[in-house]
């Protein structure tokens, strides 16, 4: 089954009632009934989801940061990651 695809113009942000928590060394995203520990790339992506940046801007920023990965792979991976969080109602766009 296909997930609803994120658009270039979508501006992802944490959904209502979802927020950062934990500590600087071990940050988590808190949501009803749960929390996810985010590290590395996942953390970077979520930090960019501030509701003002569009998905295409976000991907552009990631492509600048991770020059070793193929730009199309970065886009694909980021889209999948955000869509999964959207489905869990952790992210809105």
């Amino acid at each position: 089954m296909n997930l609803p695809y994120i658009l270039d113009s979508s501006r992802p942000k944490l959904a209502a009632g979802c927020r950062w928590g934990g500590t600087e060394e071990s940050p988590v995203v808190l949501f009803p009934e749960g929390a996810i520990r985010v590290r590395g790339t996942g953390r970077k992506i979520l930090e960019l989801c501030d509701g003002t940046r569009s998905f295409s801007e976000l991907v552009g920023r990631l492509q600048q940061l991770y020059t070793n990965a193929s730009p199309s792979q970065i886009r694909e991976d980021a889209a999948l990651f955000l869509q999964q969080l959207h489905e869990k109602r952790i992210l809105d766009y």
Binding site: M1, A16, G17, G22, V28, E33
Partner: protein, 364 residues
């Protein structure tokens, strides 16, 4: 090495305006005059944040009965806890809701008994349905997470589609469909509440189709009924592994029902720091790890997944808290469950129970 708890379940009062026949509170409730003060709770919240607890579940009874609820939320928010309010909504006006949100409330879980007012009020033993519907609209005016919780059982499962449609109309972020679990009051009323196998099979299909239909819009979490499962639930994610519950009088328990197990001594947060209770109290260590496990759990490969099931259920049904949860198909006492399920499909639909069922009472 014991991990720190992830969640603090704060039963801030056992008082409640509802009298639901499946209430998860113990039959012996904490009296109003024994309740912890605001200052006590603030200390508990601070201690739990120091233990790296992430979630605070404010529950009861009905937490709104406490007039200091906004103060409690503010205190918990201040030490970084994610605050969940588990409520019937009775006692929540539009203005008070705003106070709670301003205090830092992150999430409201509003419980529903049914989609039909008459049925809902019959389960709750009080008129509460209409207010809940109005309240749902007010909650959506705020930037907080909103879950609606529906408890399902024999008496309402036949119109599950209608109930899901009703919940959907309240525009929540999340719908939680929870089968009654048979402890406390629910166990007293089990013969009236226990669904039939036919109902369960139908339910699974309805929930799956609603999940597909509402994908990306409303998250539906369904808690399956353990009597019909092949293996037991990992109750509380394991005894003393993830959560610590503090009851209205300050006693710390590994779960809602643990008070039924004889011989356990519960330490009180008035006398002991939460950290000591978590790491050192005999009760929290009693069923940790695998040393207590009998066969077939001890050599079972699932023991690290379900931890032998629920200790309270094992005690309530077999008289031995160390027994394998009888829900498990490998348990030597599994026939207790099979018999109950069998009876649910041959009796008259639980109708006579409706006359005799016992409503939850209120503490002194």
């Amino acid at each position: 090495m014991i991990q720190n708890p992830l969640a603090l379940i704060a039963e801030i009062t056992h008082r409640c305006p509802l009298h639901c026949v499946y209430c998860s509170n113990p039959l012996q409730m904490a009296a109003a005059k024994s309740e912890l003060t605001s200052q006590d709770w603030q200390r508990v919240f601070t201690e739990s944040a120091r233990l790296n607890v992430l979630h605070l579940h404010l529950t009861g009874g009905e937490p709104l009965v406490r007039t200091d609820l906004a103060q409690l939320i503010a205190g918990a928010h201040c030490v970084g806890l994610y605050t969940n309010l588990i409520t019937s909504g009775i006692g929540l006006s539009r203005a008070r809701l705003k106070d709670l949100v301003d205090a830092g409330l992150d999430h409201v879980q509003l419980s529903f008994q049914d989609s039909k007012p008459g049925q809902a009020n019959r389960i709750a033993g009080t008129k509460s349905h209409a207010h809940k519907v109005e309240l749902a609209g007010w909650i959506r005016e705020h930037q907080i997470a909103f879950t609606v919780n529906l408890v399902v059982h024999r008496q309402n499962l036949d119109h599950l589609e209608e109930m899901i449609a009703f919940l959907e109309s309240l525009n929540p972020h999340r719908i939680e469909i929870a089968h009654v679990q048979y402890y406390g009051w629910a166990l007293k009323n089990r013969s009236t509440l226990m669904p039939t196998r036919k109902q369960i099979e139908r339910t699974v299909k309805i929930v799956a189709s609603a999940q597909t239909r509402l994908r990306g819009k409303v998250r539906i979490d369904a808690v399956s009924p353990d009597y019909y499962a092949r293996y037991p639930k990992a109750c509380m994610g394991g005894w003393g592994r993830q959560s610590i519950l503090v009851n209205p009088a300050g006693f710390a328990l590994p779960c809602h029902a643990a008070g039924v197990i004889p011989g356990l001594i519960f330490d009180n947060v008035r006398k002991r720091p939460l950290e000591w209770i978590w790491h050192k109290s005999a009760t929290f260590q009693r069923f940790r790890g695998e040393a207590w496990m009998p066969e077939p759990c001890r050599s079972c490969e699932r023991r690290t997944e379900d931890f032998g099931g629920c200790r309270c259920q094992a005690f309530l049904l077999t008289g031995d808290a160390s027994a394998t949860d009888p829900v498990c198909s490998l348990s030597p006492t599994h026939s207790l469950i099979q018999e109950t399920i069998h009876n649910s499909s041959v009796d008259n639909g639980g109708e006579e129970g409706l006359i005799n069922w016992q409503y939850r009472s209120n503490p002194a």
